[in-house]
Homo-oligomer: 201 residues x 2
């Protein structure tokens, strides 16, 4: 289970897309949400679109790895698809904020690897948040405030990547994935492999 | 501090040489030894060649990160050069066995990353140990016994690499180095970097 968190504007979405393209063993976790489907969105690909009543029932049945309510809409990570993917020996990528990460960590049986993506500078972050649209100064200021608040949780993550160049950042996340997969504690087949070589413990 | 351990014949020397060539931030640790210099060896490059009396004094003065005596010759890793390299922000590669690894771990202030290299199969290991020279069956059998004894410590290491292909194994060690350098706990400059962006903790 791999978590990527970052403030909006640090380049996380671009990195995630490139990762999913290059790493066949990685699958994006699809969240469930109560917000209405937008034009162009696909059920089961962008989100699982469900109503508030179903969402509440899933909370009661402990069917979420994490969930949160933002601006009257609820979002959550259903356990089922994640566990099915992990059982196939594939890895799952999560795009959640610091609160989602903390909740995943409580539910993840030490399986979670968390990466925080930082912008190269506050000026660059501001430039990127400006660049998004023709928004007022007030809107940009609110986004910056939200971004610095999210960044204040950088020190709760396993790895930190400063995103100066998207290609380098993608290569770094891939190196982290490769390394984590080589950890002794994750190579469950190794006990049998070594035993087959006649090595006693 | 990066430790590579493996049974003789698993390909560790080839991997180490390729790593040192490709990674400018990595330096090989040079051991001190009391064994005589062999033709072609260079003082301070292959080993620091010292006499038994000097070796004993260095033990007394706690100047070794680890040391051992093998077949009447003593070998040890002097602290001074390792600490100087680490202070420069460079990493140090150690080629030691499981006992050396354990001793390094006791002295390394959580800084150590340990990788165990396994051969792809016991048959391949035997083939490689045979291939070394025109040795008798008895000599090869002793080497195999020593190799399986060393391998029985595989589960004391952070990472395990099965060396099927040298290029892939080198890339894997490089990924581990990249990932370890991205760990939050190793990025000591990050506190100031984040503070400069106006992020409060």
């Amino acid at each position: 289970m791999l978590v990527l968190s970052s403030p909006s504007g640090a380049g996380k979405s671009t990195i995630s897309k490139a990762l999913l393209k290059s790493d066949a063993d990685l699958t994006m976790s699809v969240s469930a949400t109560t917000r209405p489907m937008r034009p162009g969105e696909v059920e089961g690909q962008d989100y699982y679109f469900i109503d508030q009543d179903t969402f509440e029932k899933m909370i009661q049945a402990d069917e979420f790895l994490e969930h949160a309510t933002v601006f009257e809409n609820s979002y959550g990570t259903p356990k089922g698809p994640v566990e099915a993917t992990l059982r196939e020996g594939r890895d799952v990528l999560f795009d959640v904020d610091w609160q989602g990460t903390q909740e995943l960590e409580r539910n993840a049986r030490n399986d979670l690897v968390s990466i925080f993506i930082l912008p190269p500078s506050i000026e660059e972050l501001e430039r990127r948040l400006h660049g998004r649209a023709q928004d007022s100064e007030e809107v940009v200021r609110k986004r910056m405030s939200k971004a610095t608040s999210e960044m204040s949780h950088w020190n709760e993550y396993d790895y930190i990547i400063v995103n100066e160049d998207v290609d380098i950042s993608v290569a770094r996340v891939e190196a982290i994935l490769t390394a984590e997969r080589l950890k002794r504690t994750r190579q469950s087949g190794m006990v049998d492999f070594v035993r087959a070589m006649g090595v006693s413990q």
